[in-house]
Point group: C2
Chain length 331, copies 2
């Protein structure tokens, strides 16, 4: 568990996109954030109060979360001196960077000296069991996608927001680095050892109250050859009661693979559902969450109508319309 | 690479089954084995000459291969003294044990002192890339199964034996610990980090001559919820031109999961082929390899006829009939 509240470190981000982890945290856990720390020349801004480390501590921050991708995979000297100061002021540091905090001797020494934690959410912190393929008590919803990076995390978080507002007892379950930084815990599924993928998801979503919903962040796509195995493990480990299909309609090919076309919504529906029913025969696809951020108003309406028609199910953009139609389908 | 020839260490195996790794090596690479080392009370025998370590060295052995499962996951003192003697006599040690040789300080010290290698095939020795989903030159055959442990490795090795005898340029590609010990190299797929599973298989089966066949050892099953993700990554990473479906007809439920029925051969055929064609549109299922070791003569004939009928494809037991019918189908 990462201790809240956070202060978000935006570093020397060259543009807004470089700070998209901070943006995700601000979008979904603004009440866990006391402010942002920006270095000279930082071109990103997530709209939180700018603070020094001392001001962040005074405002109650417990953890500095690195909300920016670093250049060239290296923790620069300029970053390091700020991070060391953060540890010395009594902050933990949490990071989803590829290069790990724990591999930086200066940070490790400062953390040990101060008794603070360095939390690398990119790597698992526990040993997971082999999956057992058992249905558990309580309910599970999983997002599956036509591709990677189509908005599965945002759709799942929007479902949490709207289901809670509708009176559901529902919790987002993070399976990726940004999701873990947003919620403070989860399974970094892409970094789990192959044999334990399904078991890690069973651990993440254990038996629960009969009315409870785990809303599980999807990863990859069954149709993305680089990551399909991760997706299938997630479907089998989740034993989902409900699936939501996530889609990004402007994608012209699979992410990173120009030689691959996107699958049809129908193919994603049928294939995902067949695998889900292997572990949960009662599983249903309840609808489609479409990321229409690249479309204008009339294009959005046409696109949602086409998606709904292709699946004979509700299709919404959770960030424009909310999830009411999906929740209605779920009931 | 594990240096041949080997001497197989059977330790204090309580029965033949405990030495099945040694049995596999003897069955498929007898010409790489100079003998076996058995401790007092060993109840296993793979039919090789019994030797001391000194005799094995004199016979040319380069590597002692641990061909037995150890009890309780611990390297016992009795084992350790033999293994240290092996290192001191100039042998490397290769092992697929869960508890790693490299975690045993006494073995590590002896190996360093003598300049010998400790090879734990359970963990990857290299960093693999993310899969690219590209077809490569040359040809690839992959075995897929109705379940785990149905005989995929033996079927693939039998295909190598018989294809070579028929004039094919074909190489077995190991994806599991025993397969790696048999052939001296490969990818321990179940121990690879999730994100790199497909990429590890692309690395294992790179571009090759137009007439060459990689014969890739299958793992798990798309229908086994504990390991299905590994299987799908293997299908997508292999980009196979040909699939062989492996089956064990006496299995009453999925291995380790009494609450799961086996899938039908037809379901395995259709699902595996659809995924394989995502990366290789020309992929075909060429036949069925049935492990009939639990059946008598007339049962075997009936079973093979039923499997052939279910798939409208040749069905053979590669260990009883050889693979001629599969190779004919491949041509």
């Amino acid at each position: 568990m990462i201790k809240a509240p956070y202060v978000l470190f935006l570093g020397d981000a060259p543009d807004q996109l470089a700070a998209k982890v901070a943006r995700g945290i601000r979008d979904w856990r603004a009440d866990s954030c006391v402010g942002q720390i920006r270095m000279d020349g930082c071109a990103a801004d997530v709209g939180l109060p700018d603070m020094s480390i001392d001001q962040a501590r005074a405002a109650g921050a417990e953890t500095l979360v690195i909300g920016v991708a670093n250049r060239g995979g290296v923790i620069s000297d300029a970053w390091r001196s700020i991070l060391v100061s953060a540890l010395e002021s009594g902050l933990d540091i949490a990071s989803g960077l590829h290069n790990l905090l724990r591999d930086d001797p200066e940070l490790v020494a400062a953390a040990e000296r101060m008794g603070q934690q360095l939390i690398d959410v990119r790597v698992p912190t526990e040993t997971y069991p082999i999956g057992e393929g058992k249905r558990r008590s309580g309910n599970r919803l999983l997002t599956v996608g036509t591709d990677c990076s189509v908005g599965k995390m945002y759709a799942t978080l929007a479902l949490e927001r709207d289901m809670r507002a509708s009176g559901f007892n529902a919790d987002f379950r993070a399976t990726g680095q940004t999701g873990i930084l947003i919620t403070g815990s989860g399974v970094p599924l892409d970094a789990v050892i192959a044999d334990f993928m399904a078991g890690s998801i069973e651990t993440l979503t254990p038996d629960a109250d009969a009315a409870h919903w785990d809303l599980i962040e999807g990863q990859g796509s069954l149709f993305h050859p680089s990551f399909s195995g991760v997706t299938l493990a997630l479907i089998h480990g989740s034993a989902p009661d409900a699936l939501v299909i996530c889609h990004e309609p402007t994608r012209t090919h699979m992410r990173g693979l120009p030689h691959y076309e996107l699958p049809s919504l129908k193919d994603v529906h049928d294939t995902s559902l067949a695998f889900a029913r292997r572990v949960n025969p009662d599983c249903k696809v309840i609808g489609c969450a479409v990321n229409t951020s690249g479309l204008d108003g009339s294009q959005t309406a046409d696109c949602l109508a086409a998606c709904a028609d292709a699946l004979s199910l509700p299709a919404v953009d959770p960030m424009k319309d909310g999830c009411a139609a999906l929740i209605e389908s779920l009931r």
